[in-house]
């Protein structure tokens, strides 16, 4: 077991975990933040996406040890209290969430994308979200949600 100290959603956390425990499991099991989902366990589907020092990572491919000292943002850290973040609001209004299992990762990927490209082109959106699989929507409503969010004040 290793002691890991890191910041999760702006809160400093210290946990005891095997050094190679997946960040995904640390978040879900140790910190009870179940918004990040396991879809494939091999970095293909992106439903475990979180932000790590501002970069979008698959938390199933990050070990606890690698998270030492890092600043992690999960879906639970995106809304302000019960008030939805503009990206969340746009996903809700545009039909960007169907079954919802990819949605937390998709919203974090969008957050990351809009940091990089505040007014993304469709191609930038398509490429920016290509690491996050959605089986329900065919992505069209998600693109709509991202474009709507890009035009919101107060984003990302």
């Amino acid at each position: 077991m290793t002691t890991i100290t890191f910041t999760v959603n702006n809160e400093s956390r210290t946990i005891e975990a095997p050094p190679m425990k997946r960040l995904l499991d640390v978040l879900r099991e140790d910190l009870h933040l179940t918004g990040a989902k396991e879809g494939c366990g091999e970095g293909e589907c992106g439903s475990c996406s979180v932000l790590m020092n501002g970069e979008l990572v698959n938390s199933c491919l990050v070990s606890a040890l690698q998270a030492e000292g890092a600043a992690i943002t999960t879906i639970e850290g995106i809304a302000v209290g019960q008030k939805l973040h503009p990206i969340q609001q746009c996903f809700l209004e545009k039909g960007g969430a169907q079954c919802g299992i990819c949605t937390p990762g998709m919203i974090l990927a969008t957050h990351h994308l809009l940091e990089k490209y505040p007014q993304p082109t469709l191609l930038q959106i398509q490429e920016g979200l290509a690491g996050n699989l959605c089986r329900c929507t065919g992505y069209t409503r998600i693109f709509d949600a991202v474009q709507a969010a890009a035009n919101q004040p107060g984003k990302p």
Binding site: G41, I75, Q88, G95, C102, E127, G138, I142
Partner: protein, 789 residues
């Protein structure tokens, strides 16, 4: 029939209110089964067969593993019957003496620490005496094939032939005169078309948590399973047999479900029974959540198919008669295969008029894991063959694919192949015109004819015309006898809808609340839907077959009408405010308590279906569609890409435009995957590419612009005129895309999925290879094309 839908402007039906459970989903607060932890919960795992078919000789346990820490369940621990009941009882809950497919469950393990389970599963060594297996339809139907499946002698449901799960014979029109019709036809066009298995690939794998409760004397009292599923009552019925318990002692709760597409229709009966067996023996709640590799290798997929067409055609391209042989690979056990075969059979004729038709359908056993439900349920398979074949007939006759359709499309008042009269005032001729115009089909054809000869990128445009029946086939809805309840809370005045119909992304919660709100004349936000828990909700039937909006929605409408009638004496009528509704509910409550009403499905009097002859009203209503695909085939890399997609459909009243478009776009995306990306690679019955890394579904960068358009002709069968919509979009993309690829390349590919390596083989091969027909349609070697006129 029920009361007619009220006239007048609608205030919530037809608009797009926010998804009921949407806020929880976008906040990451929605609780899927793997997000739930119960006190003292253990974790379960499954020991599976490593071979396709054989006798179990020995089972040994690696002494390095502390087995005393584990709970181990075998078939001997099953208190009731060792079966997962669907239509028959051939499917065992746990293998006993023999295995019939790779990854068949044999033993179950549970342990408090999830992390130790993979090593324990690997520590159970099973030896087998291997028996010969069959892995394709052809191997299964070969006269000298080993008998891998035989029906119980008393089982009337099945054919008595070796390896045959089910056959249907559907004859219509002058089928008895087919020989004469063929003898006198200007053309006889034959073709063979194949489709592969497809993985549902919901992003949330199958998972459940089970609990078993004992009475004071230690005997089993009840079981409870919660998890990802489409059909809570299917699992109830499976548990009844496995645990020898009455229905009311088997409680099932659907948790938020992360995609399903049919993959959580029948399979939860397996994993739910397994977890409950471990819970019973261990004395702990037990969670089983498969990882991706186990889910892909061990659970159901879309049935592979083969369609053989032989069509008699007149000189001017009118269908005179036809024979269609439709075959499915069912996998190792019957499960839902006869029903899938049925839908495939009925959809095989497509939206065309057949003066004479004979469809022979059969489902064969193979030593693959059982194939199961997947959006479309047999129809995408048979429609693929038919729509490819229509383009072939056009080519042989020398008319355009459009003209071929125009001369044969069904019209109002015509009869379908089952003899059903088309009552909906749908005009497929006009829909075809609209679709080809709005998609720019004709202009594109001209443009590509000009540009293709000088380009290494060959572009093409193709389309498919099709229909999809909503609701259970034939007498299915009558047998389901669905029940819906609605309760108005006498304290808050809020109506609550009680159904076993589940939400897994498609919008059940939202549309049913819209329907109730519309009838009651109160805001959508004031109507609630109860989480499906079989202790609380009635059996409104399974959430399958594009039946929820139409069938269950109609029952919700009827309960709401009863609520209105109950509250009217207490001063509420349409046009009043919610405050007045609430006041009336409270006044009613003082005298009677909550308003509590129910509505049961009643078959419309004019619907008749003959299960033996396959004649009559196959479905209460059909959705109709024309899908147009544009493709680019790169002759340097041999990759085919869908570059534009247009989908026009008539689905009755669209209850919620945003959700409806989402259904079509999502279905089209799965259809594009079915056509161009998603290939299950089988090695002796084992799915070799059981990972997202090498089973490729479309990403956001792979899909073309998806243009979705609706026509709305209200149907009397659904609430406010709605029909089914969920499965329809799966049917059209694959044939439209392959028709477009033929237009682009001149190669008539006949199989999906069509991957670059398949295109490479065909384009570089000398002579003909499997999966396509000859480059030059005028020398059609594979098919007998005769001009006898």
């Amino acid at each position: 029939m029920s009361e007619p839908t009220q006239p007048g402007p609608l205030f919530t039906v037809g608009s797009s209110p926010l998804r009921k459970e949407g806020v929880a989903k976008v906040m990451g607060q929605a609780k899927y089964v793997d997000d739930i932890t119960l006190p003292d919960m253990w974790f379960g795992a499954t020991v599976r067969s490593t071979i396709a078919r054989g006798r179990i000789v020995s089972i040994t346990f690696d002494p390095a593993i502390p087995w005393h820490e584990f709970t181990i369940v075998t078939a001997a621990d099953i208190p009731g019957e060792n079966t997962i009941v669907h239509l028959t009882k051939d499917h065992l809950c746990l293998a006993e003496t023999h295995v019939n497919h790779p990854n068949e469950p044999i033993l179950l393990l549970a342990h408090p620490d999830r992390a130790v389970l993979p090593a324990a599963v690997a520590g159970v060594q099973i030896t087998y005496e291997e028996l010969p297996g069959v892995f394709t339809i052809e191997e299964s139907e070969a006269p000298d094939a080993p008998a891998i499946w035989e029906p119980a002698p008393e089982d009337a449901l099945h054919s008595q032939e070796k390896n045959v799960f089910k056959t249907y014979l559907m004859e219509s029109g002058e089928a008895a005169s087919l020989e004469t019709i063929f003898a006198n036809a200007a053309y006889i066009v034959e073709g063979e078309y194949r489709t592969g298995a497809q993985e549902q690939l919901y992003i949330e794998n199958n998972g459940v948590i089970a609990e078993a409760f004992r009475a004071e004397d230690g005997s089993l009292e009840s079981v409870k399973v919660q998890g990802a599923m489409q059909c809570p009552y299917y699992l109830v019925h499976a548990l009844e047999l496995v645990f020898k318990l009455p229905e009311e002692k088997c409680r099932v709760i659907q948790t938020e479900t992360g995609g399903a597409f049919g993959g959580k229709e029948d399979f939860p009966s397996v994993i739910g029974s397994h977890a409950a067996l471990l819970a019973l023996k261990s004395g702990h709640p037990v969670k089983i959540c498969y990882d991706r590799a186990e889910d892909m290798a061990g659970t159901t997929k879309r049935h592979p198919s083969r369609s053989r067409h032989r069509t008699a055609v007149s000189k001017d391209g009118k269908i005179l008669g036809g024979e269609i042989d439709f075959a499915l690979d069912g996998g190792a056990y019957v499960t839902l295969t006869p029903v899938v075969l049925s839908r495939g059979t009925i959809h095989a004729p497509g939206p065309y008029h057949w003066p004479a038709l004979r469809v022979r359908a059969k489902a064969m056993a193979t030593n693959l894991p059982p194939h199961g439900a997947f959006r479309g349920f047999g129809a995408p398979q048979s429609i693929f063959g038919t729509e490819r074949h229509m383009d072939k007939i056009a080519r042989v006759v020398g008319i355009t694919p459009e003209e071929m359709r125009r001369r044969n499309l069904l019209a109002v008042g015509d009869r379908t192949a089952t003899g059903q009269i088309i009552h909906d005032t749908v005009d497929m001729q006009q829909m075809l015109t609209r679709a080809l115009t709005e998609s720019g089909y004709h202009a594109k054809r001209e443009e590509f004819a000009r540009t293709n000869p000088t380009s290494t990128i060959k572009r093409g445009v193709g389309f498919a015309t099709f229909l999809h029946g909503a609701g259970f086939t034939g007498s299915g809805e009558r047998r389901l006898n669905s029940l819906v309840k609605m309760i108005v809370d006498a304290k808050t005045g809020n109506p609550h809808i009680l159904v076993s119909s589940t939400e897994f992304g498609q919008g059940t919660n939202t549309i049913l609340c819209q329907v109730a709100a519309e009838v009651l004349g109160i805001p959508y936000d004031e109507v609630f839907i109860t989480q499906p828990d079989t202790k609380i909700v009635p059996n409104s039937g399974p959430t399958v077959a594009s039946r929820t909006a139409m069938i269950v929605g109609k029952l919700v409408e009827q309960t709401a009408i009863k609520i209105l009638a109950a509250l009217q004496p207490y001063g509420y009528e349409i046009g009043n405010t919610f405050e007045q509704f609430k006041k009336a509910a409270i006044a009613y409550g003082i005298e009677h308590g909550d308003v509590n009403v129910e509505a049961r499905y009643q078959s419309p009097g004019d619907i008749f279906w003959d299960d033996e002859a396959y004649r009559g009203e196959a479905y209460p209503a059909y959705a109709w569609a024309v899908y147009v695909a544009e493709v680019a085939v790169d002759t340097s890399t041999y990759s085919a890409t869908c570059t534009d997609f247009y989908a026009l459909q008539e689905v009755g009243k669209v209850l919620h435009p945003v959700l409806a478009k989402g259904q079509i776009e999502g279905g089209v995306a799965q259809g594009i995957g079915y056509a161009l990306y998603e290939k299950c690679v089988w090695q002796r019955g084992h799915m070799a590419n059981n990972q997202m890394t090498n089973y490729i579904m479309p990403t956001s960068a792979d899909l073309p612009p998806l243009h979705v358009a609706f026509e709305e002709i209200p149907s009397i069968h659904g609430p406010f005129g709605a029909k089914g919509i969920g499965e329809l979009p799966m049917d059209g993309p694959a044939p439209a895309i392959l028709n477009a690829i033929e237009a682009a390349t001149g190669i008539a590919f006949t199989e999906v999925p069509l991957l670059p390596e398949d295109i490479f083989e065909r384009m570089t091969a000398n002579g003909n290879t499997g999966g396509s027909e000859d480059l030059n349609p005028s020398i059609d070697r594979d098919t007998r094309v005769e001009s006898v006129a």
